[in-house]
């Protein structure tokens, strides 16, 4: 197990290096000159003004040289300075925003699990029932077909404007006021959690359906174990194995997918920071932001692999 872990962790570094190079190159290939966005447009800037701005930020150097400088700074722990928000370092921006995004991503993940486990279990145990026969198709369709931004606006209209139960947007940290934080997180987590719950529900339903006819389940029932023990200890535990791996992997994508949720609900997380940085061609922030997302996805995949081996001893990690 230790060797496996070590190999996997070492294997992350070349992936990170290649990703950083690709991200750097692709971002710099996007048309649009950040120097043009930085110079005041009134009065109209001259070529010299733009060149001076370019030189100030080192955008006049060859792209490979810029990459080497950037990488060197990163290895020294310096993520650089934001050019669109000069008052803030990239580290300051990313670290404060990541904490916010973690609130949204984890609460959305929690909502997904909260919806999908009972629903999937019920559907798997009773595949001929109304939930499995009619509702699952409908729920899957709705969950996949409604774009997140639209779902977010519908949730705001219903829960905030019509019922007046939750705030329309904004963010409160769980450290400051846990109850208020949950109130603010309810709608974003529902918006981010519903699409994930559709995937998990389908996985759990089919997994339960398959396992419930296994001999060890029949044996447990024949032994006279209470049905709650059979379901929770024998059935659900085994049914969740494939779901855990999918869930760990999709948690990484939840962070990346927070862009839309954060925009609709006005949450100042890394998703919104990324969108603003792309618009402003704030290279340092974009690069750092993508690196954070990549690290998060890689870490989630690593956790998924480890969990898979831990939950199913038949899979040998060594």
């Amino acid at each position: 197990m230790k060797t496996y872990l070590l190999t996997r962790i070492i294997g992350l570094f070349p992936v990170l290096f290649i990703s950083s190079f690709l991200i750097f190159i692709i971002i710099h290939l996007i048309p649009g000159d950040p120097a043009v966005l930085l110079v005041p447009l009134v009065p109209p800037p001259t070529k010299e003004d733009i060149d001076a701005m370019r030189a100030l930020y080192g955008f006049d150097k060859p792209i490979l040289e810029q990459y080497v400088i950037w990488l060197g700074n990163i290895l020294n722990g310096d993520l650089g300075q934001s050019i669109s928000k000069p008052s803030f370092s990239v580290f300051e921006l990313i670290s404060s925003k990541l904490w916010v995004t973690m609130h949204v991503a984890l609460s959305a993940f929690f909502v997904s699990i909260l919806i999908s486990v009972p629903l999937g279990l019920r559907m798997g145990l009773n595949p001929e029932g109304f939930l499995a026969k009619k509702f699952l198709g409908f729920y899957t369709g709705i969950g996949f077909a409604i774009p997140s931004f639209w779902l977010g606006i519908l949730l705001i209209l219903f829960f905030s404007v019509f019922l007046g139960l939750f705030p329309t947007g904004g963010f409160k940290s769980i450290n400051d006021d846990p109850l208020l934080s949950l109130k603010y997180l309810f709608l974003p987590s529902l918006c981010g959690g519903i699409p994930g719950s559709v995937i998990y529900t389908n996985f759990i339903a089919s997994s339960v359906k398959e396992i419930r006819n296994k001999e060890y389940i029949t044996f447990a029932i024949a032994k006279g174990l209470p049905s709650s023990i059979v379901i929770l200890k024998h059935l659900l535990k085994n049914a969740l194995i494939p779901v855990v791996t999918v869930a760990a992997a999709t948690l990484g994508h939840t962070v990346a997918g927070a862009v839309i949720t954060e925009k609709v609900f006005g949450i100042p997380g890394i998703g919104r920071l990324l969108v603003d940085a792309i618009t402003a061609r704030d290279y340092a922030v974009i690069q750092a932001n993508f690196m954070v997302i990549i690290i998060f996805v890689m870490f989630a995949n690593l956790v998924a692999d480890i969990l898979y081996g831990w939950l199913d001893p038949r899979i040998r990690l060594d």
Partner: protein, 514 residues
């Protein structure tokens, strides 16, 4: 006995409530779409307007009637050649961190910032590339000398902000960027106490503000929203009291909605314009450019794009300006017959041009579609060319577009204010890359009238000079005015009274709330 007990209870409740009632703070909660562009006061982008006008004071206050009132300056004496001004500053003023607002600060703003590696935006935005020096006469009196004349000197002074040097420099002087700890240090009625990028900004009343009895409330919380729908939902639920620059369709929805008020400045200081590149094939002929100006259905633009809140006008100056001339106007629905005649005189050329605009801007797309239909009637094929925002700005800056919609400020003020919007001064500002000098050659008197306008000493000279400059616009210069553009706010009934500057920036110190 029971009565005594009741009295006791009432007194106890009043005792508890009294401090709460007496010391409760009034907070104005504002929503706006998108974060500010920068803490730099002269990043004069629309999302910064609230910050510019309320965290900072200017030397003069420019009201909506084109009047100038004293703000940081108590008096100002402009020289007869419009090249210098003697400023007397108000006594006993301080910036938010206690730095005295005096002649030294004025000198620092106009001279010292120019030496920093970060461009001196303060000076370039207000005075263009004209050089400025400051002679200190005494603590409160200084003379500003410019290398060129400014006919609109007062207007310029109404844009000059005196912000604290600590806002721009690190304490050790190592970096000419913003100081992270100090952030915004202005002189305005509010001071910034918190800013979380992408989330919110909080202000509180500046206790040492020079003007008594303002502002009328204690705090301002500004929340930045990702989109208009979320922001308007927050207004409806009472999470914010006021929204700044709502989407036009929402303005229409809230216009007659009970419990809400729509605030639109009576005269619109912003104009939508169409920039026409006179070097683009087919557009070199001024008759073609004049025909385009005549063929546009401005009423349709006002109705469809600005939901009826726009002001159809082909004049660069609004009616309240001394330079306004009804001769510059075109019927709101356009004059196709005249436009066709002009095209005929030009030999009915086959013109096909691209209209480049930012792909994220639905208003520009709608303007483009209307123009496409209008110009087809006079035989001009308009191809819509949506570009990613940065490309769009790049093309605008490098002037590699053929036609491009844009926005211009300054229509409410002195015609010389329009120079800031690169409408005039073809030599310096306008088509400064104009390789064939199309505009300059055709309007050779244009620059002469412009120069006269900047130096005119009496009202009749001024009017004559500026009316000639505006005539050049009519005669087929490279800017075509489409419509006055509303820059509104919507509030709950809690907000009573909003004051606007001439440039459509809301002044919150005079607002009052329940």
């Amino acid at each position: 006995m029971k009565n005594k007990k009741n009295k006791k209870y009432i007194f106890s409740i009043l005792f508890i409530l009294f401090p709460a009632i007496c010391f409760s703070e009034t907070i104005l909660k504002i929503g706006q779409i998108g974060d500010i562009k920068s803490l730099e006061p002269y990043r004069n982008a629309a999302p910064n307007y609230l910050m510019i006008e309320n965290l900072h004071d200017q030397l003069l206050f420019n009201d909506r009637n084109r009047g100038f009132e004293s703000e940081l300056a108590t008096s100002w004496k402009i020289s007869s050649d419009y090249k210098s001004v003697i400023i007397k500053l108000r006594p006993g003023m301080f910036t938010h961190d206690g730095t005295p607002v005096d002649s030294k600060l004025l000198k620092w703003v106009l001279e010292e910032r120019g030496k920093q590696s970060w461009p001196n935006i303060t000076r370039t935005v207000v005075f263009g590339k004209v050089s400025a020096t400051v002679d200190i006469i005494d603590d409160r009196t200084a003379k500003i000398n410019f290398s060129e004349a400014f006919a609109n000197m007062e207007s310029k002074l109404s844009l000059l902000i005196l912000a604290d040097p600590d806002m721009f420099d690190k304490k050790d002087g190592s970096k000419a960027r913003f100081n992270e700890e100090e952030s915004v240090i202005g002189t305005g009625p509010f001071k910034m106490v918190e800013y979380v990028p992408g989330s919110h900004m909080k202000w509180e009343r500046f206790e040492n503000y020079w003007q008594n009895n303002v502002p009328k409330f204690d705090r301002v919380h500004i929340t930045y929203y990702g989109d208009g729908a979320s922001m308007m939902a927050a207004l409806e639920t009472g999470e914010v009291d006021l929204v700044f620059r709502p989407p036009y369709e929402e303005m229409a929805r809230f216009k007659n909605k009970s419990g809400f008020k729509l605030w639109v400045p009576e005269t619109l200081g912003l104009s939508s314009i169409l920039m026409v590149n006179p070097n683009a094939p087919g557009l070199e002929d001024s008759r073609v450019r004049q025909a385009i100006r005549l063929a546009i259905d401005r009423q349709a633009i006002s109705n469809a794009v600005f939901e009826g809140f726009g002001l159809p006008t082909a004049s660069p100056a609004v009616k309240s300006s001394f330079a306004y001339s009804p001769n510059l106007e075109v019927p709101p629905r356009g004059d196709i017959t005249k436009a066709k005649n002009l095209m005929k005189q030009a030999g009915n050329p086959k013109v096909s041009v691209k209209l480049t605009y930012g792909s994220n801007d639905s208003a520009y797309r709608m303007i483009g579609e209307i123009l496409q239909a209008n110009l087809k009637k006079i035989g001009i094929d308009l191809v819509l060319d949506p570009q990613e925002r940065n490309n769009y700005i790049n093309m605008r800056t490098s002037q590699t577009f053929q036609m491009m919609p844009s926005v211009m400020a300054g229509a409410n003020g002195h015609p010389a204010d329009l120079t800031d919007s690169f409408v005039f001064r073809p030599k310096d500002n306008g088509f400064f890359n104009d390789p064939n000098e199309v505009v300059i050659k055709e309007f050779k008197d244009y620059q002469k009238w412009f120069d006269l306008g900047m130096k005119a000493k009496n009202d009749s000279d001024k009017k004559e000079a500026w009316s000639n400059v505006l005539q050049a616009v009519k005669d087929g210069s490279w800017v075509i005015h489409l419509s006055g553009q509303p820059f509104a706010m919507v509030s709950s009934s809690r907000v009573k009274g909003i004051t606007w500057t001439q440039h459509d920036k809301p002044v919150l110190k005079y607002a009052y709330i329940d």
